[in-house]
Structures are given as structure tokens and as C-alpha cells.
């Protein structure tokens, strides 16, 4: 993560703990003029000692703790953890429970990808896209609240199954929601495929070749946008995915534009899966009884979170507390890729490039700092300032979202 610096380079620190950063991140970028020559990533500000805390708590307490690693990938972490524990305990989870877990999983992916689309729009100055996507996202949030009682941190899992059932009325509501969301998403896909300003802005930015993506271990939509044919749902099926029909979206643009296409198309696949789940939901119980003490053993559980592969390892020792819980969230795998993406690129691209890996720093706890070598001074630059600088930079090149914002606001 550390590159060498030459004299004449400028280093600009961004972060940590700056009020305009959504999550604490420290990026140390070395600049020569407007170009980034190297990137140092300093992570750890969000480290909360969760793995250690898990060893001092029971499995049930850990289920609630782990779910709160992240607000957007909460179900991902909760499910990955509970699957590992259930495997060690040799529990046979009812099919209906697996289907409900998968339903919540795909709804989480939908709200996460819509959120991302809005953030991406915001980072490049296309704020009406942010308004539209986050408006539509409310449909999913309301649905999740109806199904689970909460918008995030659903608490749907228990060791042995799920805690709430889906009623026919809720299923009906969900199907109606899918119709609305599909309509919106078709519009976003059209936007992504035809709106020249957006295409120009996102193309050729944050480029990672397939070879580099493989070498650096890129996961999720970030990896798939560079041609990596990997999705845990298909390659290492869990929950109900083995019984669902869906496509893994892979793109070869190798850039932020590709990452956008992958995510919007994944939304369609999620709707497809949700409809199948609701149509084929098996009858039966929603949980089996789980022992308080989990027998000695170990398991690796993998899950395709919205951001990519989430891996949990659990080791049990026959007591009611785990011996070891290891969590490797997807953003940790992608952070290396970001450093590579930023090198030899323009500072103006930094916000969208980082945003394009859909970073979840709560999961990963990472930071990046930038130092200015030209003036030999360390400067702390607000993220928002660089975002606005990027928008201005591209306006000068004729890529301007002002008219688009006005036009879509009128619709």
C-alpha cells in the first residue's frame, strides 16, 4: 500500500475525521500538478474490536453485534455469521427460512445499489439522479420495515432460521413494489446507456484491467466490471440461491462506467430473484431449535454482499461463546484496487473513483491521506472541496450536469 515518492511531488492529506467525510477515511495522495502519482491508504479509524468482543459474548449476543458491523450490509454480516454457526452445529435450516433470508438479502442488495447510484450521481454533480434513486429506494426501505420491523439492522436471523414469517399480504405488497422498482430501474438503465454526459463522465475513469483486477483480488461489482466471472451466489451457493434462476452480470469496460452498468443490471436480477422467492416460497417452519453451546468445530461462510464477497470464519469450542470469529468484509478486498485505480490519474477523479468501489468503511475501517510535495506542506483537504473541484474540472471539458439536473427536475 506504500509507493515511493519523488522530489517535486505534492502530497495532499484528505481526512481523517473530517466533518465532510461520511465515514472516517485517510487517503495520502502524492500529487504532481493535478496527477496522482502514488496513494497511501491508512485505515483503522473505525476499528471497534468486534472480533475480540465476539469471543467475550455468546453466539446470540454476537449475532446482534455482528449485524451492526455495518448499516447497509447488516443482513450480509448477520447471515454469513449465522450460517457458519449453523454449519458447525450441524443444524438443518428449514427451507422456508432460507427463502426468507434470501428475500431480505436481495432487498438489501436493491436498497444498497440504489443508494450507490445516488451517491455516484452526487459525486459527479448529477444531483437529480441522487433525488430519483433515493426516492425509489424508499419503496424498498418501507418494504423492509414492513417485513422485518426495521429499515436497516433487520434482526431477521436467529441461529436455526429466521424470527419472522412473511404473510401473504406482505408478499403481495412486495410484488407490487417490484413492479414500481423495475419501472424505475429500466429508466436508470436507459439513462446509463444513453445519456452522453453521464457516459463521458464515468468512462475511462478508475480503470483496472482484468489482469490487475485478478491480481489485486477485486470482488463484487468492482471485479465483475473488469471481467471477473465471480459471484458467491452462483459459485458457492448458500441460503436459497441454489434453487434460483439468475444471471451473474459481468462487464468489460474496466472502469466506473462498467461498475455502474453492473449495478443497475444487478438490480434487475434481484427483482427476478425476489419474484421467484415469493412465488415458490416453501411452506413449513421458519426455524429449528439451536443449542446454546455450539460443539467444537469450525466453518467458513461466504456471502455475496452488495459490495462483494463477505467471508466469515468461526471456530467453536463446545461452550456458549465462540473461540474465534474472523470477518473479512468485501471493501477490505477492494481497497487495494482503489490505490491502483488512482495512480497516474487526476485528483478531480478521486471522489467518483473511490465512490465507485462502493466503499463501506464501517466494514473495513480504512483511511487515505494526501500530502502536497510541491509546496512541501501537508494540507487537509475536505472531501467536498475535491468533489466540487472535480465537477468544475469536468465542466471545463464540456461535461456538465447543470442542464440535466434542470431537465430532470422538471419531469
Amino acid at each position: 500500500m506504500h509507493d515511493s515518492h519523488n522530489a517535486g511531488d505534492v502530497q495532499v492529506p484528505i481526512g481523517p475525521q473530517h466533518p465532510s467525510l461520511k465515514e472516517p477515511e485517510s487517503f495520502l495522495l502524492t500529487l504532481r500538478g493535478e496527477k496522482i502519482t502514488s496513494v497511501d491508504v491508512i485505515l483503522g479509524y473505525n476499528h471497534r474490536g468486534i472480533e475480540k468482543a465476539c469471543e467475550e459474548r455468546t453466539y446470540v449476543q454476537d449475532l446482534y453485534l455482528i449485524e451492526r458491523i455495518c448499516g447497509i450490509c447488516s443482513h450480509s454480516h448477520s447471515t454469513a455469521f449465522v450460517q457458519a454457526v449453523e454449519e458447525i452445529a450441524g443444524l438443518d435450516i428449514p427451507k422456508r427460512a432460507k427463502y426468507i433470508r434470501t428475500l431480505v438479502a436481495e432487498l438489501e442488495r436493491v436498497h444498497s445499489h440504489l443508494l450507490w447510484l445516488g451517491v455516484a450521481g452526487h459525486e459527479v454533480g448529477f444531483d437529480t439522479l441522487l433525488m430519483y434513486t433515493w426516492r425509489d429506494r424508499e419503496i424498498v426501505m418501507d418494504l423492509l420495515a414492513t417485513l422485518t420491523g426495521n429499515r436497516v439492522n433487520y434482526g431477521i436471523n436467529t441461529i436455526g432460521g429466521v424470527r419472522r414469517d412473511v404473510t401473504p399480504e406482505q408478499a403481495e405488497e412486495a410484488l407490487k413494489a417490484m413492479e414500481k422498482l423495475e419501472e424505475s430501474t429500466n429508466y436508470f438503465i436507459e439513462l446509463a446507456s444513453k445519456e452522453i454526459t453521464l457516459i463521458k463522465r464515468l468512462s475511462g475513469v478508475g480503470v483496472v484491467s482484468n489482469e490487475d483486477a485478478v491480481k489485486l483480488g477485486a470482488v463484487g461489482p468492482t471485479g465483475r466490471a473488469s471481467g471477473i466471472q465471480r459471484d458467491v451466489r452462483r459459485d458457492d451457493p448458500y441460503a436459497a440461491y441454489g434453487e434460483l434462476d439468475f444471471d451473474v452480470i459481468v462487464d468489460n469496460h474496466n472502469d466506473v462506467y462498467g461498475r455502474t452498468l453492473v449495478r443497475v443490471k444487478e438490480l434487475k436480477e434481484s427483482f427476478k430473484m425476489i419474484r421467484q422467492i415469493l412465488k415458490n416460497m416453501p411452506d413449513g417452519p421458519i426455524a429449528v431449535k439451536a443449542p446454546r453451546k455450539i460443539p467444537a468445530g469450525e466453518a467458513v461462510s461466504r456471502y455475496e454482499a452488495p459490495r462483494g464477497e463477505d467471508m466469515h470464519y468461526v471456530r467453536a469450542n463446545g461452550t456458549d461463546k465462540p473461540d474465534r470469529v474472523k470477518v473479512r468484509p468485501p471493501t477490505l478486498a477492494n481497497i487495494q484496487v482503489v490505490a491502483h485505480m488512482l495512480k497516474d490519474r487526476y485528483l478531480a477523479d478521486m471522489p467518483i473513483v473511490i465512490a465507485a468501489i462502493d466503499p463501506c468503511f464501517s466494514c473495513t475501517d480504512r483511511m487515505i491521506s494526501i500530502n502536497n510535495l510541491d509546496t512541501k506542506k501537508k494540507e487537509t483537504v475536505i472531501w467536498n472541496k475535491i468533489r466540487l473541484m472535480g465537477i468544475e474540472h469536468y465542466k471545463k471539458q464540456g461535461i456538465d450536469f447543470t442542464e440535466l439536473n434542470k431537465k430532470f427536475f422538471m419531469v
Binding site: 472480533e51 466453518a299 467471508m311
Partner: protein, 155 residues
């Protein structure tokens, strides 16, 4: 489970010392217990000759009698092979695998920071994930380390 059986067969045939060390836990899950001294050749063979081109994570843990380090390797994103080595508590050290997987930098630094395992071949400039200024010799993930805030004694 043809794939998993083939992997087991190939490994045990190639490395005699792994004869009883390969367990197929279930489909897509294999555990290999390797002597630490043989780690380099087993790892290299798995990655370069057997198609384990993915490293999901490296898990370190304190087993009291020593430390265990598990490399969670994947093949085609599907089969997970957990390669475990054990190192003694006194001067624990492992070789870096960043030459195979640059992303392992983060995973190895976690082992260094949280367990105090030395990473041979990796230059570590600052803490991760612990904050700057974290006191020397304090390794939170060790079993004998307790958070004083929770009321227990810190060793």
C-alpha cells in the same frame, strides 16, 4: 465431490507429510494442516499448480499452546481450501505471501498488530488496524489480553 477428492488425492500424493492432513469437511470445503516448515512449498503448489488463485483472508488465532494461521484459499471462487499452519508462542513468525497476493498486506498486518506475529518479508510502517500510538507489546487478540474498560485486568 469429485473435485474435492481429486484435490485431496493430488496433495497427499505430492506431499507425503500431508498423508493424514487433508480433510474434506463438506462440498467445497477442505482443510489442510501443514507443518509450518513446509508452508512455502505447499502454498506455492496450491496457488501456482492447483488453481487456487483467490485468497479470501488470513485468519490468525491464539490457541494458547501457540498460534494458528489459516489461509483461506479459493479455486474458481467455489472450493475453499483452508491451509492451516501452527507457530510457537515464542517469537511467532510467518513468511509474507504478498508476492502472490498483494491484498494479503492488510491481512498480514492484522496478524502483526492484533497477535504480535512477525511477518517475514513485509515492511510495516504504521499500525493497522490499531490506532497510531497504540502501546508496544499489547496484542488484543491474544487470549491473555483483556480490555481494561470491561473491568478485567490487562496483562
Amino acid at each position: 465431490m469429485a473435485g474435492e477428492d481429486k484435490i485431496k488425492q493430488e496433495l497427499t500424493e505430492r506431499f507425503g507429510y500431508l498423508k493424514d492432513a487433508v480433510t474434506i469437511q463438506r462440498e467445497r470445503r477442505i482443510i489442510v494442516e501443514s507443518p509450518a516448515a513446509n508452508f512455502a512449498e505447499v502454498f506455492d503448489y496450491l496457488v501456482n499448480k492447483m488453481g487456487f488463485s483467490g485468497l479470501s483472508a488470513i485468519t490468525g488465532m491464539d490457541e494458547v499452546t501457540g498460534f494458528a494461521v489459516i489461509y483461506h484459499l479459493t479455486r474458481e471462487g467455489s472450493i475453499v481450501l483452508n491451509l492451516r499452519i501452527r507457530v510457537p508462542r515464542e517469537n511467532p513468525s510467518i513468511k509474507t505471501v504478498t508476492q502472490y497476493f498483494p491484498a494479503a498486506d492488510a491481512y498480514e498486518r492484522e496478524l502483526a498488530d492484533l497477535l504480535g506475529i512477525k511477518i517475514d518479508g513485509l515492511t510495516i510502517n504504521h499500525h493497522y488496524p490499531l490506532p497510531d500510538g497504540w502501546p508496544e507489546g499489547q496484542y488484543p487478540l491474544r487470549k491473555d489480553w483483556h480490555n481494561s474498560a470491561s473491568g478485567e485486568q490487562k496483562d
